[in-house]
């Protein structure tokens, strides 16, 4: 596999796309072909199943290069494959059942396990060890952050401000906008203006707003300062003025997320039956009363989902800080700071992991809420 990727990296960039996709398609094709013929009765297919069960694990071990460190691993994998075949042969779901299940589920589950579950556990572990991972230090890394080391405490507070402020304002403006334009002429066109920033990267949005906030000696080229000048004020170096700069950076995130909130809430508003609105109207409710007593209760679940989703985005946001202030002048957040600590030479693995863990703890309530929801949904099915 290393050889393949090395060879691939030598190709012109655009040629790499079809090559790697064809290679991938061949592997998936083989999986599907095997899954198709696996349950067929007859000696030939039994032999095929046995061969696949024994050979594939061994080949995977070879491809991953594990044999370099342990030659004996290849036969072990083959033997385990054989055991798998026996298990499959006697499975209650019929011959080929276990192998088929593995063929469908294993690629995704292995990747999720390696890419998310294992790193999560590893990072939690590292947060209790020193920066060079050599000795156990207990909660020292966390104590260091909370005592303000490497700007940790300010960054943590900033991060919490981001998470609390962004979703509230973005959801509020998104909801107001969705209500304002509902059933109006040109609703679709009006939607696009606010929705478009959703497709713009945080990096692009950051540069758009850096220019908007730009500060110059003499003639202003940033609109915000020019407006200040027009009204007789003094231009301000916005992004270097703390704590105003935090608010202005949060504006960037609000700008990108409002459209998302608007689209979700707009769809929910359209889901409220017209009769409810009409009934309220007949009872003499005015527009605001109808909004409070019909619209809001009707879309409450969507408001919660929107709010949670934007909170999660604000927790993870790294790009805006990276593309604007790089955490200078009191704008740092732990989701940015931990990457810097990790990229240090030598990497501050302990502190960095501890900040990542704090980030995860902040996200945990949302995770539990979501998991609970989906559990209820699935049990209800």
């Amino acid at each position: 596999m290393t050889a393949f990727f090395t060879w691939l990296a030598g190709l012109p960039p655009l040629l790499q796309i079809p090559v790697v996709i064809v290679a991938f398609a061949v592997v998936v094709g083989l999986i599907l072909f095997f899954v198709e013929i696996a349950p067929r009765p007859g000696r030939v297919y039994t032999v095929i199943r046995l061969a696949v069960a024994v050979v594939v694990p061994a080949v995977v071990v070879l491809l991953l290069g594990v044999y370099n460190s342990a030659v004996w691993l290849v036969p072990v994998a083959a033997v385990l494959g054989g055991a798998l075949f026996l298990l499959d042969f006697r499975s209650r779901g019929g011959k080929g059942y276990v192998l088929q299940l593995i063929a469908f589920m294993l690629p995704a589950l292995a990747l999720v396990l390696i890419g998310l579950a294992y790193p999560l556990i590893k990072t939690i572990g590292s947060s209790f060890f020193s920066n060079d991972s050599s000795r156990f230090v207990g909660l020292n890394n966390f104590a260091y952050i909370f005592s303000g080391g490497s700007g940790g405490l300010i960054d943590l507070i900033n991060q919490i401000v981001w998470v609390l402020v962004t979703p509230v304002i973005a959801t509020a403006i998104g909801l107001a906008y969705a209500v304002f334009i509902d059933k109006s002429h040109g609703e679709k066109v009006l939607k696009v203006f606010v929705f478009m920033p959703v497709a713009i990267s945080f990096v692009g949005a950051s540069i758009i707003f850096s220019f908007f906030y730009d500060y110059q000696q003499g003639n202003q080229i940033g609109l915000l300062n020019q407006i200040a000048v027009w009204f007789g004020g003094q231009p301000v170096n916005w992004l270097q003025t703390s704590p105003l700069n935090d608010a202005l950076l949060i504006v960037i995130l609000i700008w990108t997320q409002t459209g998302f909130a608007m689209v979700l809430l707009s769809a929910a508003i359209k889901g409220i039956p017209d009769e409810q609105q009409e009934a309220a109207e007949l009872d003499g409710a005015n527009a605001f009363q109808r909004f409070r007593n019909v619209t809001i209760p009707g879309i409450r679940p969507t408001i919660v989902v929107t709010w949670i989703t934007i909170s999660i985005v604000s927790l993870k946001v790294y790009d805006i800080i990276a593309a604007t202030t790089q955490g200078q002048n009191g704008t740092g957040v732990i989701s940015y700071d931990m990457v810097g600590l990790f990229n240090n030479l030598p990497p501050q693995t302990g502190t960095s992991s501890a900040e990542a863990v704090l980030l995860f703890i902040l996200i945990l309530p949302f995770l539990i809420f979501n998991a609970n929801n989906i559990r209820k949904q699935r049990l209800g099915l």
Binding site: I17, L64, K122, F211, K316
Partner: protein, 323 residues
């Protein structure tokens, strides 16, 4: 004969109806009034939301000398426009790769990183939906939960897994990808993006695949199709809308990503977001570069967005938890 005498009851009804109509007309007028206020508020928001983008967009077409001496709003008084900023930016090379090359890199990253998770997740989603096994619900909830784990949590262990592998005691469980000497390999970023995308992809596709009527599956099975054929001939074609929705989400997510690109690429294969961020750090006042550069970076997502908005919205509505 025309009935001339009117039943008093129906007269009352008519009067009531008239009153109601009048009060309705009054109410409608009031509603229209508030809705006019609402429309004005909406237009104000729309303008506020558009001006920053518009300002930078206009700037990207102004000669560099003008950009730094006068505001973009003066362009309406004395219009002088050029596309040379874009040409210069595409070729601009800050001692690494040019912005144009980084655009290609983003393309090389985004296409496989969109295709891989879709296919792998579709396989798993089919397994979750149509193959019964013990612990299925619990496994599904676990995978779903991992969807919002911050990437920040995963980068350090994953990077060391790629470069030095995993060693427990003296035993190297996995020796790493051995790509440390191959500077410009995209393998690491393809794999990382695929891993990070899978939970959401599985969730979205599962919602759709599990809703396919069981009769169709049964009919195919009676006709002698196995899981392979059912997946290829029935499930994939029927889930095109869900696949399209996820593909757009993933395309935008990968193209716009900075963090994964920063960690899992190096020098020669930086994506455009990384190169533009570096430009912003090193040339913060060179607005001719930054304006043109950021529009080069957002042009493709915007095209995708406008062309496929319907699928995009559907994807957002279906999977509103990914950050």
């Amino acid at each position: 004969m025309i009935a001339t005498d009117v039943d008093p009851r129906s007269a009352r009804k008519v009067a009531a109806a008239t009153r109601r109509a009048e009060s309705n007309a009054f109410k409608n007028a009031k509603n229209r009034l508030t809705s006019r206020g609402a429309t004005i508020a909406a237009i104000v928001i729309a303008v506020l939301w558009t001006i920053p983008t518009f300002g930078l967009f206009v700037t990207s077409f102004r000669p560099p000398a003008d950009i730094n001496t006068s505001g973009w709003w003066t362009v309406f008084a004395n219009p002088a426009l050029t596309i040379s900023n874009y040409v210069n930016t595409l070729n601009f090379d800050d001692g690494g790769i040019s912005v144009g090359q980084s655009f290609l890199n983003s393309l090389v990253i985004v296409i496989p990183a969109t295709v891989f998770p879709i296919v792998i997740a579709a396989l798993a989603a089919y397994g979750f939906a149509w193959i019964n096994f013990r612990g299925k619900n619990l496994l599904f909830i676990l995978v779903f939960s991992l969807q919002i784990v911050p990437i920040q949590v995963a980068i350090s262990p994953l990077l060391s897994l790629f470069s030095t592998g995993l060693t427990i005691g003296n035993w190297a469980v996995f020796p790493g990808l051995n790509l440390n000497s191959v500077a410009d390999s995209f393998a690491r970023i393809w794999i990382s993006h695929t891993m990070f995308a899978l939970p959401l992809a599985i969730f979205l596709l599962h919602n759709f695949i599990s809703a396919i009527p069981a009769d169709i599956m049964e009919a195919a099975r009676v006709d002698g199709a196995g899981h392979g054929q059912i997946f290829l001939r029935i499930v994939l074609p029927l889930s095109t809308p869900a696949i399209a929705s996820f593909a757009i989400l993933q395309f935008l997510w990968v193209w716009n990503d900075l963090l994964v690109g920063t960690i899992f690429t190096s020098g020669g294969n930086f994506p455009i977001t990384k190169v533009i961020t570096d430009l912003a750090g090193n040339f913060g006042q060179s607005w001719y570069l930054l304006s043109a550069g950021s529009f080069l970076a957002i042009i493709l997502p915007l095209i995708v967005f406008f062309a496929l908005q319907r699928f995009f919205v559907r994807g957002l509505l279906a999977g509103a938890t990914k950050g």
